[in-house]
């Protein structure tokens, strides 16, 4: 099943809150379902730290041997970190999508609590329904 400690988007990203107060950020990656569907990931393109992203906009790309997909910003905010490891080891998205395969962190403009309670985010069981419960 899908981990319970993150929330999900219908576009197959996950979001996890970390830190408190001014240090609070949202870490974002793609789900196990998404990486499985993409196949072997060979390049990940991510925005620079400081980039302003808007909910629903493409913030990067994931290329596999067979196709390319956008990664969408689940929420509006400012990029505070990007996973530099993925430049040299994009396969981390396949092997550990919720851990070492994370992509970026953003500071949401709406604040962390409002961001995490956004109605556009799904919990694990709702995401499982969305994906047909077909996670392998």
């Amino acid at each position: 099943m899908y981990p319970d400690d993150v929330k999900y988007t219908a576009e197959h990203e996950w979001v996890r809150a970390s830190g408190t107060g001014d240090d609070a950020v949202l870490r974002i990656g793609i789900t196990s379902y998404a990486q499985e569907a993409l196949g072997d990931i060979v390049f990940v393109t991510l925005p620079a730290v400081g980039t302003e992203v808007e909910a629903g906009q493409s913030l990067g790309e994931v290329e596999s041997t067979k196709s390319v997909s956008d990664v969408y910003a689940p929420l509006s905010g400012t990029v505070t970190a990007r996973n530099e490891e993925l430049d040299g080891a994009p396969e981390l998205v396949n092997t550990d999508p919720y851990g070492d395969g994370w992509m970026i962190e953003i500071r949401p403009s709406a604040g962390i609590d409002a961001a995490m309670s956004s109605s556009t985010l799904l919990d694990a069981s709702a995401y499982a329904v969305l994906t047909g419960g077909a996670e392998s």
């Binding site: 196949g39 072997d40 060979v42 596999s64 041997t65 067979k66 396949n94």
Partner: protein, 363 residues
């Protein structure tokens, strides 16, 4: 969705956890463990592909001294008189009026009176019906699509595997021999689509499962059609439907080496000779990305901001670790030119090269 046809190994692919997809109307494995791992197995060790979806046909007979070889030679492009019984050849079936490519295929001369054909899955019925419609009395064209399966054992260690099965391995590249495995007939061809040393084994359709099991029991990596595509793209081998089609002639696709220009007859001869003389309006080249972009089919290629062609195939090269592709480009383009590919609204720098992108080891 229409019902997809199934290979005799379909249940085995599903049991291995393969990701399945439609290939020319057939539900075939794209990948098992992953494209990169399967690609590397073929380049460095050995892998096996189920390509039973490929078409099969046979042309038999003779008509007052006009043999099956004569009949095929007067229709398909390559010069069958360059090879003899036991040998195989890459050839093209072109449209007689336009010279566009109906299909690319391998032709196997079994005897003067029997030529075996392996076209692509989606085009097999076209090739067979075009030949059948043109066959004189005494020449018979038969579709054998589901009579024989095809297992491609490919990679530097493929000869060892085929030998361990008790099958012959000493014949030359692009030749074949009849053999048997556990008293079942198997045609052993020294052919492939990967650029590595390899064999294509053709058992009877119903015997394919046991042979597949025996190959896997020798530790061979099962490989899907995803890896087959990255392997063939690294070699610059064209794929019909992308780099060859009814709209793309062999002159444009640089497949003129597979055309018997000295022959008096073959389908499309007039159109192709005329195109060759006036010069093609576009030519197929290799593209190698100079940054992290990956060219993909249908992307536009630009020079100084103006479109000068289109990518026909593109992927990430697992061996070279860069984006590579094939593209039909304006005839003014030369080897070594640096161009730009429009990758989803952004630009990727590419260099024009002559494939293959990695050295061939077929011999």
């Amino acid at each position: 969705m229409t019902d997809l046809q199934k290979s005799p190994l379909h249940d085995r692919h599903v049991a291995l956890g393969a990701k399945m997809a439609d290939f020319g109307g057939w539900d075939m494995p794209i990948q098992y463990a992953g494209v990169l791992q399967e690609h590397t197995a073929v380049r460095e060790a050995v892998g096996v592909f189920d390509v039973s979806h490929l078409g099969k046909g046979v042309v038999r007979g003779a008509s007052s001294g006009y043999t099956a070889v004569d009949f095929v030679n007067d229709r398909l492009t390559n010069d069958l008189r360059r090879i003899g019984p036991g040998q195989a050849q890459y050839t093209l079936c072109c449209d007689d009026a336009t010279g566009g490519v109906v299909d690319d295929l391998i032709q196997y001369v079994r005897s003067e009176d029997e030529v075996f054909l392996i076209p692509n899955a989606a085009n097999s019925s076209q090739v067979v019906s075009r030949l059948a419609a043109d066959a004189p009395a005494g020449i018979e064209v038969e579709d054998l699509h589901t009579s024989l399966a095809v297992l491609a054992v490919q990679g530097p260690q493929s000869a060892k595997v085929v030998e361990q099965l008790g099958l012959p391995t000493s014949h030359d590249y692009m030749s074949f021999t009849n053999a048997s495995w556990q008293d079942k007939p198997v045609i052993v061809c020294r052919t492939g689509y990967t650029g590595e040393l390899g064999f294509e084994l053709l058992p009877r359709w119903d015997d394919a499962g046991e042979l597949w099991d025996a190959v896997l029991a020798l530790g061979v990596t099962p490989c899907g059609l995803g890896a087959r595509d990255t392997l063939r793209t690294e070699m610059g081998y064209p794929l019909h439907g992308q780099d060859l089609s009814l709209d793309i002639t062999p002159v444009q696709a640089r497949a003129g080496w597979a055309v018997g220009w000295k022959k008096e007859r073959f389908w499309g001869r007039d159109a192709l000779v005329a195109e060759k003389e006036r010069g093609p309006r576009r030519l197929l080249w290799g593209l190698e990305a100079l940054d992290r972009g990956i060219p993909r089919a249908h992307m536009t290629v630009l020079r100084d901001g103006a479109a000068i062609g289109e990518v026909t195939s593109g992927t990430f090269s697992p061996t070279r670790k860069v984006g590579i592709g094939l593209a039909l480009l304006d005839p003014s383009v030369s080897e070594g030119d640096e161009l730009v590919v429009d990758v989803r609204g952004r630009t990727t720098q590419v260099r024009v090269v002559k494939p293959p992108f990695v050295p061939s080891h077929v011999r």
